[in-house]
Every structure is written in C-alpha cells, then in structure tokens.
C-alpha cells in the first residue's frame, strides 16, 4: 500500500492550486466567499491569493489550499489499450503473417461534428508527430470518410467495404453530443449484426479507454495518440476476435 497526496514543496503537504469565476461583483466579501467555498470542498489552509473583477457581476479567483485526502496507488492499474506500439513495418508484417490479406479500416468524424483534426491525425497519409497515418500502411486499406458523417452512412459504408475496423471520432463534446453519437453507432452496429465482426474504436480529446469500454467499444484513444498505437491495438484485437470465431 502506498498513499499519495499532492506535493508542493514538502512530502505530503497536499498543496493544490485552483482558479474559478464566481457570478458576483468583486469585493472583500467575494474573496471571503471564495475562501469559504474552497474550505467547503474539504480543503485546509485556504489562501485566496488573487481575487478581482473580470466583468460587471463576475469575479475571478486564484486559490492555494491543502487537501487532507490521499489515494492508494498500489490499488490503481494504468488503463492504456496499447502500451507498446509496434512500428508501421512491424504492423504490416504482422498483418501479412496473421491475416494474409489487407485489413479494411473505415474512419469518420460522426454526427454533426466537423472537426476532423483527430481522425485526420490517425488516418491521413501524413500522420501525426512523425508517425505515419493508416493510409500509408501497405497492408491496410484505410478510408477516411471525413467530417459530419451520419452513423447510418458510416455503417452502410462499413458493410459495403466489409470493414474489419471502424474508427469513430468526436471532438465536440458539448451537452454530451459525443456520447450520444458514439452510443448510436455501437447500437446500430449491434442491430445490424455487424458488431461482433469488427473492431470498434473511438477517439477524441475527451475520450478515455474506460469510457469507450462503458459504451461498448473495443477501446478508446485520447489526445496525443499516435496512428501506430491505434494500429497495434486493432491488429491484435482482430486476431483475438478471429480466434474466437474459429473456435
């Protein structure tokens, strides 16, 4: 068992910084309101180091405080889908060896979301941070359908192309639109009887692997994911799936 709490300048001091806006004009009383609010959150030694008006009826605060709570890190398992990514060449070799054919990967930014930055980083030839995108893989037939693709359209296309892997991306998360769209995709694949045949992945800046699994996806990838990390995951997962199918 190993208990950990935030570190300011001394082990276990619990030091935390916070900043927030309150919908009230600034005054000495507003500073005190901010202090009491943070104290009510359970923090100790609350210091409101900056409080000032930022508009009529709104004040902004910077607060330092100490937390008395800790977490037991021995009880926490890291949740990453593919800790050791293979290289593009290794993945191509793996596909040739294990499947003996090109894998079909279909990706899209679904719903009304027009922000393709995530799906483009993973799929487009160019890739992301020097890691080539899936279109560049010799053993993948990768199609990026782009932005604002309806769930129905994506599923229709995936069926037509006999997709092995489906990538769904969501950048806009306002009012839970990402969750709604991801859920709709998983449900439609289920209803169409395609879910078991494909590796279903989601991605986006607010996506976590945990969330993805709750939504019925094989995995989820967040900010900073490289194309080779996604590919490593899906080639292995697909291999597992096919083994189940054969048995």
């Amino acid at each position: 068992m190993r208990l950990v709490r935030p570190y300011g300048d001394t082990m276990d001091d619990g030091a935390v910084q916070l900043s927030f806006t309150l919908p009230m004009p600034w005054s000495e009383a507003a500073d005190e309101a901010a202090r009491q609010l943070v104290a009510k959150m359970g923090f100790a030694d609350v210091a409101v180091v900056d409080g000032r008006p930022i508009a009529s009826g709104f004040s902004f605060f910077v607060v330092y405080a100490r937390t008395p709570v800790s977490v037991d890190v021995s009880q926490i398992a890291a949740d990453v889908p593919a800790p050791h990514a293979m290289s593009m060449d290794e993945i191509d070799d793996f596909v040739r060896r294990e499947f003996g054919r090109k894998l079909v990967v279909v990706g899209a930014c679904i719903g009304t979301d027009a922000h393709t930055v995530g799906i483009d980083a993973i799929m487009n030839m160019k890739g992301y941070r020097g890691d080539y995108g899936l279109e560049r893989y010799r053993e993948l037939s990768a199609v990026n359908l782009g932005s604002q693709v309806s769930v129905e359209e994506l599923v229709r296309f995936a069926r037509e192309k006999s997709a092995d892997v489906i990538l769904a991306s969501q950048v806009v998360t306002q009012k839970g639109s990402d969750i709604t769209n991801f859920t709709a995709l998983a449900e439609l694949l289920e209803a169409e009887g395609l879910r078991e045949r494909v590796v279903l992945l989601c991605g986006g800046p607010r996506v976590t692997n945990l969330l993805a699994q709750e939504l019925g996806y094989d995995a989820g990838f967040g900010r900073g994911t490289l194309p080779s990390e996604v590919a490593t995951f899906f080639v292995h997962r697909l291999k597992e799936k096919l083994r189940h199918v054969r048995v």
């Binding site: 806006t21 709104f58 902004f60 979301d113 160019k126 998360t173 306002q174 009012k175 900010r223």
Partner: protein, 518 residues
C-alpha cells in the same frame, strides 16, 4: 521592421490570381443558386416560416420548377404581387401554399413584375445603406481603439447565455465578438428561424439571434464608450442568405471564404463560387469586413510546409473579393499561429509569414488566428504560446486578432478563460506596442530567408493552379491535400444556369458599386 520583398514577384502572383479567377467568373456570371434566390427574397422582406419550420424563402423557391427557376425568384414574387395586390409577405405565403399557382403567372409581363418590386428593392438597398451609415456614425462617436483589435468567440449554444458572455468579454476588453455557429449549420440548406437556445459547439445563426446580440453589444458599446463589433459566419450552403441577414442587422464582420466550404465541408465548388460572389457583393455594399479562412490549411496539415498555400489562398481570396466590388479595407485575409512549438525558431517563422502578409496586403485588415493544433491540456504552456502569438501580432501590425484561449483544447471557453486571454493580449500588446517600428530584419537572416521562400513557393503553386484551372487543381489536391470533384459535394443540385430572362434586382442594384471599386 520591413522585409525586402520582390515587388515584381508579388505582381506576378496577383496576375496569376486574376488568370485563375477569369474562367471561374465566366461560370459565376452564367449561374445562380437556390441560396442566392432565397437571399433575394429575404432582402425583399420575405421572412418567417411555414408548416414545420420551413423558412418562407425556401418554401417559395421550392415551388419553382427548373424552367421557371431559371428566370430568378424575383420575377415570380414580383408577378404574384402585381397580380394579387398582396404585400410581399402575403404574396410569398400565397406562392408557398399554392393559393397562387406559379404557372398562372407566366402571362404576367416581366416589366410588370419588375415594376411591382421597384419600391421593395429601393427600400432594401436604403436599409442596407442606412445600417452602414449607422455603423460609420457609431465608429466616429465611439472609436474602437487601435489594432490589433481583440476578437473573442462565444459559443454556448444558447443566445441568451452568449449575450451574457459577450457583454462580459466586451467589459474585459474585447473589441469584436463572434458568435460561433452550431456545428453542422454549414450543411443545412436553410437558415433556422427565431431566437435559439439549443446548439452544439455553437449557436445557430438566425436573424433574430443577430438582432439580440446586436442590441446587447450596442448597449455595452455606449456604456464603454467604444464600438464593439459583431461577427458571424457567411459560409456553408446558406452563405448569401447569411450575408443578407447580416447586412440588414448591422453585423460588422463575416467569416467568408471563397474555397473553405469546398475543401473543409465538402460543399460543391460551383455552388460555393456562385454563392461567395453574391455574398461578397452584399458585404461590399453593407461595409462588412470579411474574414477569410486560411487558418484551416494550417490546422489540417503541417504549418511549416503549408505557409505558401496560405499566401496563395490569400491572393485568390483577394482577387475574388475585388471582383465582387470589395475594397482592400474590407478584405480580412487570414493566417494562423500554428507552427509546432517544438520547432527551433518557430517564432521567427511566424513573424516572417505575418510580416510578409502585412507588406503584400498593406491595406487589408489582416485576421490572425491563435494556436489551436498544438494546444494541449497544459494550460500553462498554452498561455505562453498565446503570449508569443500576441507578440507576433502586435509587432507585425495585424488588424483582427482572435485571442487564444488557454483552455483551447479542453472546452468551449469559460467566462474566466476569456478574461485571462484578453488580459494576456492587452499586457503583451501594450508592453510591445512599438516594437515593430524599433527593429530591423537582418538581410539574409532566418526571417528574411523564410519570407523569400514562402513567396517563391507561393508563386510556383499559383502557376500550377493557373495552368490546369482552379476547379481541376482542387480536384488534383492542390489545396489542403483534399480532392473535390467539380460536380461532387453537397449542394450541387441547387446550382442552375441563368435563363435568357434571368433577373436578380440586387445584382443590378449592387453592380454599379462593383464597377466603382474595380
């Protein structure tokens, strides 16, 4: 701080942009679109919805079969007014619900139809001119302050929350407020109606929402003693209609790009070219400053490599805007601070590009966009990147400055995020206000060499585009590494050839202004 730029090369780039635009304009002159026709109806006073939220302008245009549509919507609404004696709103409703059958109007002589609209056309033009004069008077009485003008975005989805955020941002120093549209609105082939409180990633652009925001900003402008500008998006399938609404409601700026929708929203290129032209004619008359979307080339591909594409697009956007009658002072060409922060001398490359644009387009109110692509959850580093962006903007004399948010990659801005962002910009710009006038660029150094390369490469790109034609070049991935076919994409069904008797009274009314600006 002056770069030595090759004036002859700039002239060649402009000549190439003209050569690129020529065939496109032959196409534009011979075609109209359903959204242009709906914009004409809206300018004539056709507003409101019928049935299940179908805008009246759509309902009328949908009643026109292809043969009659080729004459333009104005002929038919004019004929309906002449034959029935109804006012324009009632005549539109009668056409929409079939009480007046369009085919019964074939017999109405065109000159009678035109005559019936004369007063409405004059009134619309007078209203557009009056709104422009209002803006000019307000700017004279409530000066904005010096550029770079600080521009922030509100995007709650609810116009009333947006109003609160906009007023707070103005109080914190914002000089321009943009209401981001709901994601997906660009692909709607109609403009939603009324005040809206639901949207995704933004708030629907509607005429009523424009009015609500304009009124709130007029109030705060008076209170602060400086005019606060309002911006929205004339892009997507309803570009001309948004431009018409903006002209009527005194918006001050519109995002309006000649190629953005084609490349990044897969809207048909013919539709976009025709729509952008009529939109820009309206913008020109309304005194609205357009913001072009070159920042998008940088967010979707490597910013170091794409710099020449940005400049090439600026030349093309400038040429298209000139042809619609826009003076340089209304052409807000875009650029963005998107080079990977880990690149050594990234700041120098940004300065090179920003200064190059400043010198090539000396009278254009250049629009500068903040880092977005390399923003992460590390808000502290993000705040520093924004400071470098702010410094680049003030030292190179950019005009319209979209303030970067430290929480860019995380959520639509909180009220406090905007205040921190504006504080950052005001601090840096005040601290370095005259830096650009104090320093010289070393000949042959990093900045000078980079600027020279960008201009040379831009010329090569424009040559390639001119040699195959713009439509073929777009198909061959000349821009943003995206291929779009001339007859592919959304909205192609709404493009049609003008008939011999085609009539658009606003094209006529706006054309003299176009001639004067050329």
């Amino acid at each position: 701080m002056e770069l030595r730029v090759d004036a002859a090369r700039i002239d060649r780039c402009r000549a190439l942009a003209q050569a690129i635009a020529d065939p496109i304009y032959r196409f534009i002159a011979a075609h109209s679109t359903v959204s242009v026709e709906r914009a004409v109806l809206r300018l004539l006073g056709v507003d409101g919805v019928v049935g299940e939220e179908v805008p009246l302008a759509n309902a009328v245009v949908d009643r026109l079969d292809p043969a009659r549509r080729a004459s333009g919507a104005a002929r038919w609404i004019g004929a309906a007014i002449a034959e029935t004696g109804l006012d324009v709103a009632e005549a539109a409703r009668a056409l929409a619900d079939g009480r007046v059958d369009v085919s019964s109007l074939d017999v109405t002589p065109p000159e009678i139809a035109r005559g019936a609209l004369r007063g409405l056309v004059d009134a619309a033009m007078a209203r557009v001119r009056a709104r422009r004069a209002e803006r000019e008077a307000l700017l004279a009485r409530l000066p904005q302050g010096e550029p770079p003008l600080l521009y922030v975005i509100v995007a709650s989805g609810n116009i009333y929350e947006d109003r609160t955020a906009a007023v707070a941002a103005a109080e914190a120093g914002a000089q321009i407020i943009a209401v981001i549209r709901s994601t997906g609105q660009s692909l709607l082939d109609y403009v939603p109606y009324g005040a809206t409180t639901e949207g995704f990633g933004g708030t629907y652009a509607t005429q009523e929402n424009f009015r609500i925001m304009r009124a709130a900003l007029d109030d705060v402008s008076e209170r602060l003693g400086r005019y606060v500008m309002l911006t929205n998006y004339a892009s997507g399938l309803c570009m001309p209609e948004i431009a018409a609404m903006a002209a009527l409601e005194r918006l001050d700026m519109l995002l309006n790009d000649s190629m953005y929708g084609i490349l990044f929203r897969d809207i048909n290129m013919k539709r976009t070219f025709v729509d952008q032209h009529f939109s820009r004619m309206l913008n020109a008359a309304a005194g609205i400053i357009i913001n072009t979307g070159e920042d998008n080339y940088l967010t979707t591909a490597d910013a170091l490599e794409q710099a020449p594409a940005v400049l090439a697009s600026q030349f093309i956007n400038e040429e298209f805007a000139h042809r619609a009658g826009m003076p340089d002072s209304q052409i807000g060409l875009g650029d963005a601070y998107e080079i990977d922060p880990d690149v050594t001398d990234s700041f120098l490359y940004q300065v090179a590009q920003a200064q190059l644009a400043r010198q090539i387009f000396p009278h254009a109110p250049l629009k500068y966009m903040p880092p977005t692509k390399h923003m992460t959850g590390n808000i502290f580093k993000g705040h520093l990147m924004n400071a470098m962006f702010n410094l680049t903007s003030v030292m190179t004399g950019q005009s319209i400055h979209l303030c970067g948010m430290l929480t860019e990659a995380i959520h639509t801005p909180f009220l406090g995020d905007r205040a921190l962002s504006l504080e950052n910009a005001r601090y840096v710009m005040n601290a370095a206000r005259h830096l650009g006038e104090e320093i010289a660029i070393r000949p042959g150094g990093v900045i000078a060499s980079r600027a020279r390369w960008v201009l040379e490469e831009c010329e090569r790109r424009l040559e390639r585009v001119a040699s195959v034609g713009l439509m073929a070049a777009i198909e061959a991935r000349a821009f943003a590494d995206v291929s779009r076919a001339p007859d592919g994409g959304r909205g192609i069904e709404g493009v049609f050839a003008k008939g011999a008797d085609y009539w658009n009274p606003f094209e006529e009314a706006l054309s003299p202004a176009v001639g004067a600006a050329r």
